[in-house]
């Protein structure tokens, strides 16, 4: 090898150099950690289909004339393959699969008697205009310690069923294609369909129990009718950038504010930040003005109002709550905005985006 080691290498390293070197090492380590952390945050819908979008494939919507000759006299294309399944009389009858049996009878509870079954939790359902609870228990004949309780809450209207479903749901639970929306917690299943909110509760965890629960839930789901009535808030709140499974409907005390009633809340991902948006259709424009005034008073009391804009279409107020920002607007009888956003410009832009989408929907 002709290669020779070089003779000299600088000896004295100044303090500045050492300090800067240390800082650079820390910077490199920091970059590595930041990249790893970023790697764990991702939208699972990148790798699967958004369940909301799938709901569009349910009904037989009006298909445009496909491959029909120009002189379209008469011949219509044959209807698509899926048609709604008819539901039998008693939805909770005969749900027990092989090896299981019904424990006792199917029972029913009204608004007056609900508390007998579920104690203090009844209040929440009553807030959402609960009508009737039908429930039954199934038990495993081989192992009597395994049972499944089925609760079908008739909430009167789809919006109410959605509401109570959404406020009971916690983050991060895997979504399940049952009803209009559903999720699984261990071996228990929760979904809403039409005006019904259904809980299929398992006694313990376990794959076998989860499978039984799923088949029971699936059978029950097919028996429940859905009149297809759309939920105003689910369509009014824009879908772009919306984090799936985060829409909630509060009858009262939305965001812990007592003046925020009948409000829909959803989480959005705007760029890297998470933004909570809210929307409420008040009973009249005057009621909306009142709500806006209450909100503004709340902003003044607990923070600072840093901006107000009034045009002949909308009024908006921006508040600095000490570290986070709220932007609330009134348009006609709609109250909406964003809350607890860390970045002011992100908050204002998100609020304007929401306002813009509402332009036609007053």
């Amino acid at each position: 090898m002709r290669r020779k080691r070089r003779g000299f290498i600088r000896g004295r390293i100044s303090r500045t150099e050492t300090v800067i070197s240390c800082m650079l090492l820390l910077l490199i380590a920091g970059i590595g950690i930041a990249i790893y952390a970023k790697g764990q945050i991702y939208d699972p819908n990148l790798f699967s289909l958004n369940q909301f979008a799938l709901s569009n494939t349910r009904s037989v919507s009006a298909q445009p004339d496909r491959l029909v000759p120009p002189e379209d006299e008469g011949s219509k294309p044959s209807p698509a393959m899926d048609a709604p399944v008819p539901s039998p009389s008693g939805p909770l009858d005969g749900l027990a699969p092989a090896g299981w049996k019904t424990l006792g009878n199917v029972s029913q509870f009204t608004a007056d008697t609900l508390f007998e079954k579920i104690d203090g939790r009844a209040e929440q359902y009553l807030d959402y205009k609960f009508v009737r609870l039908t429930c039954v228990s199934l038990v495993n004949e081989q192992d009597k310690s395994q049972f499944i309780d089925i609760y079908v809450f008739d909430m009167g209207k789809p919006a109410q069923a959605f509401g109570v479903f959404s406020v009971e749901r916690s983050d991060g639970l895997p979504a399940i294609a049952l009803g209009r929306e559903g999720y699984r917690a261990e071996a228990s299943y929760f979904f809403w369909k039409g005006r019904y909110y259904v809980q299929v509760l398992a006694s313990n965890k376990g794959t076998k129990l989860a499978q039984v629960g799923l088949s029971v839930a699936g059978t029950l789901e097919k028996r429940l009718n859905d009149n297809g009535e759309p939920i105003w808030g689910l369509t009014a709140l824009p879908e772009t950038d919306r984090i799936p499974g985060t829409v909630q409907y509060f009858v009262t005390d939305a965001m812990s504010l007592d003046f925020m009633k009948d409000t829909y809340i959803a989480q959005y991902r705007k760029g890297g930040a998470k933004v909570m948006a809210f929307l409420s259709k008040q009973s009249s424009p005057d009621a909306a003005v009142k709500t806006l005034t209450s909100y503004e008073a709340y902003l003044k009391k607990f923070g600072k109002v840093i901006g107000k804009q009034e045009t002949d279409i909308y009024t908006s107020v921006t508040g600095d709550m000490g570290g986070t920002f709220d932007v609330v607007f009134r348009k006609g009888r709609l109250i909406g905005g964003v809350s607890m956003v860390e970045n002011q410009s992100v908050a204002e832009k998100a609020a304007l985006d929401l306002l813009a989408v509402l332009r036609d929907k007053d």
């Binding site: 120009p70 002189e71 772009t240 950038d241 760029g271």
Partner: protein, 326 residues
Amino acid sequence: MERREFLKRAGATCIAVVGSALGAVWLHDSRSGAEYFRDSKSKKTKSLKSYRVNRMKGAVDMAIVRGKDPDKMMRAGLGEMGGIGSFVQKGDVVVIKPNVAFDRPPALGATTNPDVLKAVARLCQEAGARKIIVADNPINQPEGCFFKSGIQQAAEEVGAEVMLPRPSAFALTKIDGEVLSTWLMFYRPLEQATKVIGVAPCKDHNLCSASMTMKNWYGLLGGRRNQFHQQIHDVIADFSHMMKPTFVVLDATRVLMQNGPTGGRLSDVSEMNTLVIGTDMVAVDTYGYTLFGRDPDKLGYLRKAEARGLGSTKWKEQNWREVLAG
């Protein structure tokens, strides 16, 4: 080092840093894919205005003229309808839209008769038109079509300007039809136009049965117009919604009776020595269809246009005249 040089260099660096940061933020495009495609669909479009004129109550709206001299025929026909002066005034910029779609000599009846074009142009000049533009977007090669159909020469003889369909002359235009919402149109002739006159030959057509004054406006469109054939009758009805001309002339001096719209043999053509002038394209085409010996009730685009209120097939019940001219 001198403070001045230091400031100059440090200042230059500062400007570079701040400039690039500001530039980056200013140019930043954070649209999602959904927004990008929505934006690209909503492009700026041009609109078409109506070129119709107000007609006096009881005026004759359609004239069927028989004769051998197109010039005399046009004068006679328009004379019945109130004279050219009731349509074209001093200072008007008139666009005459003939059919120059194919690379054919006039005798084959696939294009507008150049003598009819000259007659219309001369009348417009007499009425005081400032400029006359002859424009069409042919299917065959433009230069060849204008030359061999005789339209080029006819335009030169009357001093009209021929506008060829260069790519820069097209613009996305709002049509708002049932099938066509916006489409690329040969817009430049219409930019300056105050009056538009359609002069269409009367031709058999293999797909839509007959190409007359409504179908004539196909020649103003560009882009992928070869897709119109998928819904041809609705599209032709859309044409009569898109274009509201001052008046139209159905050039039935020679009628292409079969093998249209291109024809190719003299035996395909019948000398009918007729011109139909009118303000309602649906009415003119209804009459024109009978020249083939066919039943207008069976013609899809006429029914569709009438159903949409774009014209009337019941020309007999309206104000029309038949004239014999020299």
